[in-house]
Subunit: 468 residues, 2 copies
């Protein structure tokens, strides 16, 4: 329509501005209308384009001006550091797992599954339906959309054995992502300066949330079978901690899955100490050769606080998770969420519910299982063939990651840099350790882009390892 | 399609279950397929329906069972209170402003504008476009979508006078609502146990976030023209506070707007004390007889931390806001946001940006101004005529609320209860005071549903006031 006139006016004004001083006033809309024989709407459009390009600025009621390249005074915010002082607990640096990478590298570092593993059609359809729904314009209750609370409760109910009272929908608090749940749980149930037991290694995001909450992190070693209940018992005893954070299913980074026996033993220890198990079921939808079996389903005495996220399996654009807890613990978590964010966008909640209640969601999950399996097996095999010194001690039964031990004495940071220089991004294991790393480890995500490049990636890692 | 068969099977199974014991096992899918001459897909559909109704439950690999009405053991979570102890700082109760109300009452209490004041068409179109966009399936940077950061920076630039260096897009951190910004600012820039100056009365959500952060709130009286700079100076002096939280434009609840002179005087005081002004520009889009004039636009020395929300003017479903800050303050806020939630859903960011960059958004805002004006004038006039003892000291030049002083000695809580019994919901002023209320006040929102009922609502308030 008027696109051509808009460009013509914008181009003319750019020419004019080339000869104008910064701060000069543009001709009035009226005179531009006359000069360019265009409608006021078209002139306004051209002005908006130039504004968006940062070339001009309008002062309402005064006029439009060539944007002065302001003498960018050297900014000195030194007074701020005096006002703020040293941070009480400096936050950990952001993990490699959050880095974006260019398309031409082989990326094993990400914390997220690649686009091709997401239910794209379901997500787009759900958002389109949501745009026409009540959720687009309304505010849901602080604890979440009742239908979504029910869905989360129902999922846990399906895994609950007879004789155990399942959680109710009102035990569920919907979250804008599970990271927010970790922050709230550590703030509301542990509190600044208090001890928090965590598996070691464990999810770096939990360590970040713990640092933010100012809690004192106490590592409990955890291997391919989970933590040793006796060591856990000792750690509770020695520290007086009231909370143990763990990932019983396909732990990040090790891929460990607890057996029911270990789960029950951990539950016994937790109960014995009048404490909580915070179960982060981050990979519930990423089972390969087994299914995720929430420990929470075997507890009805309020000792398990259960986090379940949909962000990674549905879409990072639809950021929704839930925490299920009972009694005063649930009340304190909800109170913290209210103070933190009042409520979670109903658009995201409605879209997430739409996706996971479609029959095609189950079909998607079945396909995903096969894709993860072949990706995992491809990477395990490639490493075995081409980078045998990166030793995968435990082939995980689910999740997104391999955890590889390198030869003793390997300089992991240097290895990571050398690999990156050769076009392969990997994550140093140190991000997942609350204290010193237990050895030289790297984490490799097999759910990243372009599995066709996995062998080449393994070849490069092997070459760099041999050279180091 | 198979809907009829599905219902037929579901009905048949319900009949069967009526005679079955809780916990009884349902016939296998195979035998149901044979019995009902239906496909396995149809049988599964019927079972899903019954599951969703809570009538049956399936145990993967075991079978499907009539859901036992479990002997709901009386839950005793007493051990939790022992484990958790008394909350350090009990959180304030949730304000009346967050209550949902049935349709048949006259609602003056809400903190949100009514649906008819929202740009419904724009919101739905933006979400539909977003469902087809890259944002539906990707993860934006922690600080926000660059285009949205630019939009927020651009808006502030447009209000920046010559000689002041405007903020850059990278000074902007996108938030999932401004409540999250308050939490982060109080945590990152004040810290537990430290003093925070606030206007009194002020926004209850800020008081809630302050309680969550464990900061010590110090009230500074603020009237229709804002705070007295000398009193503010004294409060900084006496407490050693480094941060003053305020709403210079159409303050909630009083509707006060600071003159440029007051803004400059407050800035001077803040600078003198090496402190921050946290400017909560919550009602930026709700100017009636004036425009919002951000104090932040007149500062380039990093002393103003500027909060701007789109939730209330775009849609409560599209929960997006931003905080603009410079230097180490910005870095600490961003670090806190990362630890708290990693990133904000790109779906919400893209949809918000889509709405506010449509030409129709400006048209909407112009219409909104007129609607707010007539609603405000209607309620002011109705109170004057029918509830003259509810005295509106200051007719606000923008915002959503009237702040009415009642006769000395009025029992406000009782008045609120009596009004509710008569079908009118109002909010007691005490929610907006950090300490004791300065007098008997109520807050009345003129942006709620059904303005045709405003006179009737005022009549009821007047009647209840006369009777009290």
């Amino acid at each position: 329509m008027s696109n051509d006139s808009t460009s013509r006016i914008a181009a003319g004004l750019r020419d004019w501005m080339a000869g104008a001083a910064p701060g000069a006033r543009l001709p009035s809309t009226r005179s531009l209308v006359a000069e360019y024989q265009a409608s006021p709407v078209t002139v306004q459009k051209a002005l908006r384009t130039l504004t968006a390009q940062g070339l001009i600025e309008s002062r309402p009621g005064v006029g439009t001006f060539v944007r002065a390249v302001r003498a960018a005074r050297p900014a000195d915010y030194g007074w701020q550091t005096a006002a703020l002082g040293t941070p009480r607990a400096p936050l950990r640096p952001v993990s490699t797992a959050m880095r974006s990478a260019p398309n031409d590298v082989i990326a094993f570092h990400s914390g997220y599954p690649d686009r091709e593993l997401l239910p794209e059609r379901l997500v787009r359809a759900a958002l389109a339906r949501t745009s026409r729904s009540e959720a687009a314009l309304s505010r849901p209750p602080a604890a979440g959309l009742p239908e979504l609370q029910s869905w989360f409760a129902q999922e846990l109910l399906a895994a609950t054995p007879a004789g155990v009272t399942p959680p109710t929908p009102s035990d569920v608090v919907v979250l804008p992502g599970s990271q927010s749940g970790l922050s709230s749980v550590f703030r509301a149930l542990v509190g600044s300066g208090q001890p928090l037991l965590v598996e070691s290694p464990t999810y770096w995001g939990a360590l970040l949330a713990a640092a933010q909450a100012g809690v004192r992190v106490v590592p409990v070693p955890s291997g391919p079978g989970g933590p040793d209940p006796e060591e856990l018992d000792r750690a509770f005893e020695e520290t007086g901690a009231r909370l143990f954070y763990a990932q019983p299913n396909y732990a990040n980074p090790t891929g460990a899955q607890w057996s029911p026996r270990v789960g029950d033993a951990v539950l016994d220890v937790v109960r014995h100490h009048g404490a909580f198990l915070v179960e982060d079921d981050w990979a519930h939808d990423f089972g390969i050769s087994t299914d995720a079996m929430p420990v929470a389903a075997r507890d009805d005495s309020g000792h398990v606080v259960y986090l379940r996220s949909l962000t990674k399996s549905v879409s990072p654009g639809i950021r929704v998770a839930a925490v299920t807890a009972r009694g005063p613990a649930r009340d304190r978590i909800l109170a913290d969420r209210r103070a933190e964010s009042m409520y979670v966008s109903g658009v995201l909640q409605a879209a997430a519910l739409d996706v996971v209640t479609q029959p095609a969601w189950q079909t998607h999950l079945r396909g995903l299982r096969h894709q993860l399996q072949s990706r995992r097996d491809l990477l395990v095999g490639s490493l075995r063939d081409l980078a045998p010194r990166a030793h995968v001690e435990h082939v995980p039964a689910g999740g997104l990651n391999l955890w590889a031990r390198l030869p003793d004495g390997t300089d992991v940071d240097r290895l990571v840099r050398d690999c990156e220089a050769a076009g392969v991004i990997i994550a140093a294991g140190s991000d997942w350790f609350p204290a010193e790393p237990a050895g030289p480890f790297i984490r490799l995500n097999y759910a990243g882009p372009n599995p066709a490049a996995f062998r080449e990636g393994a070849r490069i890692i092997g070459r760099v390892l041999d050279a180091s």
